[in-house]
């Protein structure tokens, strides 16, 4: 074998790179990067440098010309939150997947965090962050970012943890036997293996994050109104001023923003992540115009060549630092240690629950607890009604879309935008409608909750319908199954699993949305429904701590209870009986 003439390939460069020439794609790429840098720098400087004492609340100007600026600042918050969510995901997911004992605490905790109404905690976090960054707007910024973070992180963490757990066993053994350093294991095996799940989940969570952004930019906590300049607070200000044109501008801006971020961030990421499929089957490569532009431009390759040596030495250095020591003994966890660990865990959990119960009972008493539980039942009734309604309306539509490739191609991007559009931007219109038409908010809040939650159901039903094999449908047609029978024997069972997934997500979203849907206002008219969401919302506004703890605690119990008693068994049933293939 002649190795002498063989010179190029390495970990980071493909072999035999042709000398690139600068062309039109480079102009586009260069200008695009410059524009991005300008926007980030401008939006960032406003939130990071500008100091404001907390008593002077930044105001929001309803002139639509300010909207791009507000949108940029909100977007920056979203991406900062995404960054921290990713960081959290790696640390938390890694710890849970690597240590048996950590897993026993972290996974159930994550399950609860996922089901807890995040919006109920805004009061806690806003107060904490303002205290932390006394005299600076940064406190409010941090509180808003944190709110978005809590809407994004859990899903992503779960996905990462699942991916780490499902790395094929032999690959794991290979990594151990060939003594891959921790760095090498992470960058060559674990991160790529979880890439696809992480990107898709990040995209979904990011869409959900807008909702929390809108809710957290303008919030009244502990009898005080806090405002953070951004597109969410713009909407809040427009509602207060009863300014319909401003609202329309905000919604248009939001749609454009979602489209831009989808085109310039998520689509390219999804395209690139597609390379990290675990199965070895050769498939068609995904294409996307921005990725193709980037690949055809020479500028990125020049830059890559410039930073490559540095990159490579960092890679080596990290690998050396995290190398696995030879003959490092493995230990199986001792039984006694496990017992002690479990005992400590039970004690701490029990202690926390007792403390919370005592705090609530001392503050509000048993009668109020019972009353709040009844309110919880009312909200639960709304969630159930919403699910039934969405199922009846969206299942046939979703199946029709899923069965028709043409319809699917047209409607999928629309549904995707609808799912990530923050429903609370539409609340003012609905509220206005309720006032004008005299609709009882006890019923109307159901519609508000549905505005955000129903899309998950539609999304999943479309996916489920698409996964029903064509030959099964041909079979149904050839033996002449009538519509009702076809739904009963093929379509229903076929989409059941996807429906459950969609319904779980929708119900979680609806519970969270109840906090902002059961108490809405237009100008100085406030509509209040009877429900746990309004209860929490009111307690938060007043800074009534025992009621906040009671409300949030009760809602968590409801959500976790429903998950255990209804969704888990349905999910198992879907796995056991209604799995295709």
């Amino acid at each position: 074998m002649s190795i002498k003439d063989w010179r190029s390939s390495s970990l980071f460069s493909p072999p035999a790179v042709k000398r690139p020439t600068v062309g039109l794609p480079d102009v586009a790429v260069g200008l695009g990067i410059l524009l991005l840098l300008y926007v980030v720098a401008k939006a960032g400087s406003q939130s990071l440098v500008q100091f404001n004492p907390p008593d002077v609340i930044p105001s929001v100007d309803l002139d639509p010309r300010n909207l791009p600026n507000y949108a940029a600042r909100s977007t920056l918050r979203m991406f900062v939150a995404l960054f921290f969510s990713t960081l959290f995901t790696f640390v938390y997911g890694y710890a849970a997947a690597r240590s048996k004992r950590a897993e026993r605490v972290l996974v159930p905790l994550l399950d609860i965090l996922q089901s807890v109404p995040v919006l109920g905690f805004l009061s806690v976090t806003v107060t904490a962050f303002i205290a932390l960054f006394r005299g600076s707007l940064l406190g409010l910024e941090a509180a808003s970012v944190f709110a978005i973070f809590t809407g994004q992180a859990w899903n992503m963490t779960f996905s990462f943890y699942q991916s780490l757990r499902s790395v094929p066993h032999e690959l794991d053994e290979m990594a151990g036997l060939y003594r891959l350093s921790a760095w090498e294991r992470f960058t060559r095996l674990e991160l790529p293996a979880s890439m696809i799940g992480l990107v898709w989940n990040g995209m979904m969570s990011f869409g959900g994050g807008w909702f929390f952004l809108a809710a957290s930019e303008a919030i009244s906590v502990l009898n005080r109104q806090y405002t953070l300049p951004g597109i969410g607070s713009y909407v809040a200000a427009a509602v207060e001023a009863k300014n319909l044109p401003a609202l329309a501008w905000a919604i248009a801006t939001m749609v454009i923003l979602i489209l831009l971020i989808d085109q310039f961030f998520w689509k390219p990421l999804v395209t690139v992540a597609d390379r990290y499929k675990l199965e070895l089957s050769a498939g068609e490569e995904r294409h996307f115009w921005l990725v193709d532009l980037w690949r055809s431009a020479a500028l990125p390759r020049y830059a890559e060549r410039l930073v490559q040596p540095a990159f490579r030495s960092v890679d080596r250095w990290m690998s050396r630092v995290t190398a696995v020591a030879a003959g490092k003994p493995q230990r199986e966890p001792s039984r006694a240690g496990d017992l002690a660990f479990n005992a400590a865990l039970i004690l701490i959990t029990g202690g926390l629950v007792v403390a919370a119960v005592r705090f609530v009972l001392a503050g509000v008493g048993l009668a109020e607890t019972g009353h709040a539980a009844l309110l919880g039942l009312a909200t639960a009734g709304r969630v159930v009604a919403l699910l039934i309604f969405s199922t009846v309306v969206w299942t046939p539509i979703g199946v029709a879309i899923g069965f028709s490739p043409k319809l699917a191609r047209i409607s999928q991007p629309i549904v995707q935008i609808l799912a990530s559009f923050p429903a609370n931007f539409l609340f003012p219109f609905a509220t206005l409608g309720f006032i004008k038409l005299g609709i009882d908010i006890n019923w109307g809040s159901m519609l508000l909750m549905a505005l955000g939650a129903q899309w998950y159901l539609l999304f999943n039903v479309i996916g489920g319908a698409q996964s029903i094999p064509a030959d099964l449908r041909e079979m149904a047609a050839s033996i002449g199954l009538k519509r009702v029978r076809e739904w009963k024997t093929l379509i229903g069972p076929g989409i059941f699993g996807s429906w459950v997934t969609g319904a779980v997500t929708a119900s979680g979203g609806a519970w969270n949305a109840s906090i902002v849907s059961e108490l809405v206002s237009w100008g100085n008219t406030t509509l209040r429904a009877k429900g746990l969401g309004a209860y929490i919302s009111e307690a938060t506004g007043k800074g009534d701590w025992p009621r906040i703890v009671l409300g949030v605690g009760l809602m968590s119990v409801f959500v976790v209870g429903l998950n255990r008693l209804v969704w888990r068994p349905l999910y198992d049933l879907a796995e056991r009986k209604y799995r295709l293939g």
Binding site: M1, P14, L177, K277, L280
Partner: protein, 439 residues
């Protein structure tokens, strides 16, 4: 074969147990003592359930033994064995790295300089005939070429012992044959980049072709039944009389769990809970029809070859036929019995009946289950109840497989019905109807 005395790897009274769901432990390996010396090719041959892959992983330092010691170069082994590289059944390649990056993986981890990494990887790739594919991704390659990358990645490490875990079993017959030949060729030419090879297989011909020494493992629990030396000069001719005789002999040994192997005495007959071979009724009847069509007697190696079946696929059906009295196995041959002949030629209804008779006659556990079902004819008995019994004797997954086999046989014999929704076993319908109401 001249073997130097340097022992690279040794296992001393190694055992491995896993806790059972119903309490107690499942013994996967029991009292295994053996060694790998420099310069030899050792094959671990056993059927599924013999713990051969577990033993390999214990020697590689990937799994800790529950009992006993493993010594690598005389030193107790505490973590992944640094002197070992492994070729995996599923190749274990990283799909997002190129062929060369996959091959370099282990060297990079050692902190070897970039140029050396490249040189070594290219050398190894050329040994397995992959020059020109350095920049390709695994998904662009065929199965055989992927496993070549697996070999190159192991060669690069220049290990003392190269371990292979059923390296050819995920490949089609022709590709496997081809690659097996090349690997054995490298060994014969003396350019093999490892001092010894330890290969796990359930393919008898593969073991005889490659190994100097075949260690035969028994199942439930896994233990060493004995050792067969292979003194046939290399390159070995698969049609040669000594080769054929040895393959026949090993087939005989493997179809007779109680037979002595080599100089070791016969394993003591255990009074363990009888285990049903994992064969479906359809597979049993298919096998018997083929044997009947070939005159009622067939050589097992020939049968396996002509059907392109591995031992692990063929032997359960053979075992089940023997257990049910449809066939007898002797000297590597399988012969059909009178009942077997009748079963193979009967029509649909009659064959169910014959199967029922044979099951009741030969499998006492089925009769026990049937008795329990009859006692509770209306409510039936639950899957859980049976799994609880099975869990006391088998691991969770094995118990589930035993249950599956039991249900398959019982359904085919029309001894009982199983409702998968309710997960309960009931007596067959006509029996329920015959019983007087309230009786």
């Amino acid at each position: 074969m001249s073997e130097s005395n340097s022992i690279l790897l040794s296992a001393d009274r190694v055992a491995k147990t896993f806790p059972l769901p119903a309490g107690g432990v499942q013994t996967v390996l029991e009292d295994v003592t053996f060694q790998v010396a420099a310069g030899e090719v050792v094959a671990l041959l056993g059927r599924s359930g013999s713990g051969k892959s577990t033993l390999l992983r214990i020697l590689a330092g990937l799994i800790l033994p529950s009992n006993g010691n493993v010594l690598a170069n005389g030193m107790p082994l505490k973590g992944p064995n640094p002197g070992v590289a492994m070729v995996f059944q599923s190749f274990a390649l990283l799909p997002w790295l190129t062929v060369q990056e996959n091959a370099e993986l282990g060297l990079f981890a050692r902190g070897v300089a970039k140029e050396t990494c490249e040189k070594e990887a290219l050398h190894a790739l050329s040994m397995v005939g992959l020059e020109g594919f350095e920049g390709a991704y695994p998904k662009e390659l065929s199965g055989g070429m992927r496993q070549r990358v697996g070999f190159a990645r192991a060669f690069v490490m220049k290990p003392e012992v190269l371990m292979m875990d059923e390296p050819f079993s995920a490949l089609d017959v022709l590709t496997a044959e081809n690659l097996r030949g090349e690997i054995s060729d490298l060994w014969e030419r003396g350019v093999f980049p490892a001092k010894s090879i330890l290969v796990v297989t359930h393919n008898i011909e593969e073991a005889v072709l490659l190994a100097n020494r075949i260690v035969i493992l028994g199942a439930n629990p896994g233990c060493i039944r004995g050792e067969v030396r292979v003194d046939i000069p290399r390159p070995r001719d698969k049609k040669g009389p000594r080769f054929v005789a040895l393959v026949d002999y090993i087939y005989t040994v493997m179809t007779n769990p109680q037979a002595p192997v080599g100089e070791l005495p016969a394993a003591k007959t255990s009074e363990r809970f009888p285990m049903l071979p994992h064969a479906r009724s359809g597979g049993i009847s298919g096998l018997l029809e083929i044997i009947h069509a070939r005159g009622g007697r067939e050589d097992l190696p020939k049968l396996a070859e002509s059907l392109s079946l591995e031992v692990d696929d063929l032997l359960p059906a053979v075992d089940a036929s023997a257990l049910l009295g449809f066939a007898v196995v002797a000297h590597g041959d399988v012969m059909i019995t009178e009942a077997g002949r009748e079963f193979a030629t009967a029509g649909v209804h009659r064959s169910h009946e014959i199967f029922k008779e044979q099951v009741l006659k030969n499998v006492p556990f089925v009769s026990t289950v049937l008795e329990a079902i009859r006692q509770k004819k209306d409510s039936g008995i639950s899957k859980e109840f049976l799994l609880d019994i099975l869990d006391e004797h088998f691991s969770e997954s094995e118990a589930a497989r035993q249950f599956q086999t039991l249900v398959d046989w019982g359904r085919y014999a029309q001894l009982f019905e199983y409702n998968a929704d309710q997960e309960r076993l009931y007596p067959p319908e006509q029996e329920r109807e015959e019983e007087p109401v309230g009786g």
